[in-house]
Symmetry: C2
Subunit: 198 residues, 2 copies
């Protein structure tokens, strides 16, 4: 009975939040449950009242990450512009998300966590990839022509997004191609025009 409060109250939320905040300036591997607990002025073993283990906390963080990503994609699509521009905006949003949340993106797609043990993550993951299919179908009704099935086109766009994002966070734009990172717009444009659409 040394402290007046004793119970934290919202430890679960607080853990996810502070962990996500930590991710803004350090990678996931540098985050320790003990340090998080210190910041929240709580014994480090209290974490285990809310998460089975470290991975479970990571999973909760990734869940938020997917929600944010899906949100950003949806927002990018939400425009009056022609379908070509809208797709470009989605690609851009995807890459921009990776650029501004590299450490979160890393745990989402870097393979550090075994998603198959977290059904909620699997569902969100599928949801995010399915968005591409939805968008392509919608673009088709807006005048886009493609000989391939929508799902195939969507797959290609999805792969391009993934690849672009990967290269952005990997800082893979140095000598070989553009020096970009700043000019995502041009890259996204290249993605769209480089595809066999119209």
């Amino acid at each position: 009975m040394r402290k007046q409060s004793y119970h934290h109250g919202h430890l679960q939320e607080a853990l996810v939040n502070i962990a996500l905040k930590s991710l803004e300036h350090q990678r996931a591997s540098e985050i320790s449950l003990r340090k998080l607990a210190v910041k929240l002025e709580v014994d480090h073993t209290a974490v285990y009242r809310h998460f089975k283990n470290r991975d479970a906390l990571l999973a909760a963080m990734i869940e938020v990450g997917y929600q944010k990503l899906i949100e950003m994609m949806a927002e990018a699509w939400q425009t009056d512009a022609p379908w070509r521009e809208r797709i470009k905006q989605v690609v851009k949003a995807y890459a921009e998300y990776a650029r501004t949340n590299p450490n979160l993106f890393e745990i989402m797609f870097g393979g550090a966590l075994d998603e198959s043990q977290y059904p909620a993550l699997q569902q969100l993951s599928m949801q995010s990839t399915n968005m591409f299919v939805t968008y392509v179908k919608q673009a088709q009704t807006d005048g886009m022509f493609t000989g391939d099935e929508p799902s195939k086109v969507a797959l290609n766009i999805c792969m391009l997004c993934h690849g672009l994002a990967q290269m952005v966070v990997g800082n893979q734009f140095k000598g070989s191609f553009a020096k970009v990172d700043e000019d995502l717009d041009r890259l996204a444009e290249g993605v769209v025009t480089g595809m066999n659409l119209e």
Copy 2:
């Protein structure tokens, strides 16, 4: 003076080799220097005679990984087939590499290691991406037409490869698109035909 040999002889090589072998059935995060040392019947601190730290060992492993990847791409390109088929084979090789070496691929591109501290890795990384440019240029002389610069086309192919590979190792082919993993050929075909070439 309990052992006759005392000195291992090829500890450096042995460490990289056994670590790479371990990577075949477990991910990098599960590999510990101490366990490797035990397997080689050596004190775990002996590792530090050959590698500054754990990351340095990872870097050595990644170096081998790049060499293998570059080799496989080069081999895939080495054909008499028309350029379209050759590019497809390269894409396929890239994805196949990721599929058969997922844990190695993960440390190569998962962002766990800060490549900027290992010039040899940066060089190899650039080399592997530059191969795409070389191939596109060569394809151009073999009849491929593209309005864009070769480097742009190469960038798109590179992104597609990265994205495809990423999705393959992430086991992201379940409900949404194909059920593949088996049918890389069809996916690679889709990549090539989905692009604005000819």
